[in-house]
């Protein structure tokens, strides 16, 4: 377990250092995720890392709670407009989800069609 959590923290630290050093707007953990992804492609995922990672991932929703409670400090900022803001966020989130999923399904079908026709011509 110590080995697994150490690898995750080393990746996060490397991500933080990279973000600062290169002045990237990405947060350290997100860069750390891409870094670990690269390492996994190269070496695969050992069991001890997988176990710790999956164990943590099961509780990901919980880890957002302390930051979520932070809205209590700023919630008065939206007092005047809260209903308009709530409707805006809800509708925009629904639209974004539908458009993104729809775009991927459409593009998958288009590229699959092209690949199929390319394969067909290759066989001619």
């Amino acid at each position: 377990m110590v080995r697994g959590i150490t690898v995750l923290l080393v990746c996060q630290l490397a991500g933080e250092v990279t973000a600062r050093a290169l002045n990237l707007p990405a947060p350290g953990p997100v860069l750390g995720m891409l870094l670990l992804f690269g390492m996994l492609l190269w070496r695969g995922a050992p069991d001890w890392l997988d176990q710790v990672g999956q164990g943590l991932l099961r509780f990901l929703p919980l880890f957002f709670v302390p930051a979520g409670v932070g809205i209590m400090n700023h919630v008065q900022l939206m007092r005047a407009e809260w209903l308009a803001i709530a409707v805006t966020l809800l509708v925009s989130t629904v639209i974004t989800m539908i458009v993104t999923a729809g775009a991927l399904l459409l593009l998958l079908r288009l590229t699959a069609g092209r690949e199929a026709s390319r394969n067909a011509t290759n066989h001619d």
Binding site: M33, L40, F59, P66, I85, T88, L89, S92
Partner: protein
């Protein structure tokens, strides 16, 4: 002299132990309730935990900073767990490689849709200009969103609230929305959730399906980078 309940409370309220325990207990109970009601969307444990804790802190007059002194131990695990999102992503690396082009296209379209739709609908709903600027980066993780908000003249602290509310909305509606629309492809579900509602949505996607979680995590990371480039550009085009 026997200590009163108030004395004990005054002592406990100062220690990290109380608020750490409260966070875990409230999450444990709300998650239990969520499973009991067959994962009814509005019983989402992140939503309920946040609401219950905010009410409790407000009623007891506890400042957020004191609460966070205890809760920070839970908050800290967000970093290494975000890194661990590489594990499910790696498991679906084969599929990822085959769909790199459609994925990039959908990501760009989704990122644009998120910014444009929130500004357009916000205008229709008559929200103020500074709120519109704070809304534009609402779909990306808090630190990125706050940076963008500041850059385009929004209020970063308002953006932080909007980001969290967006994440919770995404987590609450995702399953129901995709079930109704019969979107069964887990990659499409995950990508859409990650683009629209960042980490809080990703956490929900992981519970729905490992593949959805994998693509949500990737989408969250890439949409953060993309929105950093797109939001200032669109803000100028839209006259914000």
């Amino acid at each position: 002299m026997q200590p009163t309940m108030t004395d004990i409370w005054v002592y406990l309220a100062q220690t990290p132990l109380l608020w750490l325990t409260a966070t875990l207990l409230v999450y444990y109970l709300t998650d239990l309730a969520y499973q009991r009601v067959g994962q009814w969307p509005l019983a989402n444990p992140v939503l309920l935990s946040v609401v219950l804790l905010v009410v409790f802190l407000t009623v007891t007059g506890t400042p957020y900073q004191r609460y966070f002194d205890g809760a920070q131990f839970v908050h800290f695990l967000l970093g290494p767990t975000t890194v661990a999102l590489a594990l499910p992503l790696w498991r679906y690396a084969g599929r990822l490689r085959r769909m790199l082009l459609p994925l990039s296209g959908a990501l760009l379209i989704g990122s644009l849709t998120s910014i444009l739709s929130v500004v357009a609908i916000g205008r229709l709903m008559g929200v103020s200009e500074v709120t519109l600027r704070s809304l534009a980066p609402k779909s990306v993780t808090t630190p990125i969103a706050m940076g963008i908000s500041e850059q385009i003249g929004g209020l970063p602290s308002l953006t932080a609230v909007l980001v969290i509310v967006t994440g919770i909305i995404g987590a609450v509606i995702a399953q129901e929305l995709f079930d109704r629309l019969r979107v069964d492809d887990q990659a499409a579900r995950g990508l859409a959730i990650g683009v629209a509602s960042h980490g809080i949505g990703t956490a929900r996607a992981l519970q729905m399906h490992a593949e959805a979680g994998a693509f949500a995590g990737l989408a969250m990371g890439l949409n953060g980078a993309l929105t950093t480039l797109l939001a200032p550009l669109l803000a100028r085009l839209l006259g914000l």
